[in-house]
Subunit: 122 residues, 2 copies
């Protein structure tokens, strides 16, 4: 049996941490990361997030719902999950709710998986 | 009701696509992405992946299992999910199975969430 050492990398409270290619996550960091990935692990939520992030500034829920074959309340539920994961934020103005991305959170979860340098092909 | 246009970004068969901050995913791209995020949406799997990616080259399953309070078969199941998502690969050599990351797949899923430029604070 080998005795390879595993270096642990704690996640700070700000959610900022080194890529997993640099150091292994501890249990707390893995739990926080897994919560965000769970929010992304649904095709409707991932499409919603992509529509919100690519909208430029913000996007009305009235422009999101017609893109899907599911009900308005279902879309609202998925948007709530994205908001609770810290990936988007929103504001009600009159009849409609407007959504925008939280770039710091997206950057954090993206950089967690970043592979800084190409690894030679095996 | 606003009439904001949503630009769709198809995912190529190679799994390479622009960040979601550039264009919205179509249904097929969202389905593929969500499958990978589902593999990451478990704290044990995320820790396993971080141990494998940070190991430098490859890591023996015998060095992974002792880091967790769950059984060997449970760890094997989680490793299988990571492998089926294309995030890691493995090879049996003698008694033990050795795992290594698939950087192209990590790079793809990381770049999907990348935020290229800071968005001004609201």
């Amino acid at each position: 049996m080998s005795k390879q050492e595993i270096v642990l990398m704690p996640v700070s409270s700000s959610g900022c941490c080194a890529p997993i290619s640099d150091a292994a996550l501890d249990a707390a960091g893995a739990a926080e990361g897994a919560t965000v990935f769970k929010a992304l692990a649904d095709p409707i939520r991932l499409r919603l997030l992509s529509m919100i992030t690519s909208a430029g500034d913000e996007i009305c829920v009235c422009d999101l719902t017609p893109q899907f074959d599911v009900s308005g309340p279902t879309i609202s539920h998925h948007l709530k999950v994205l908001r609770e994961a810290g990936l988007v934020d929103c504001e009600r103005r009159g009849t409609w709710v407007y959504y925008w991305p939280v770039p710091e959170r997206l950057q954090w979860i993206s950089s967690l998986l970043a592979v800084p340098e190409p690894i030679p092909a095996r």
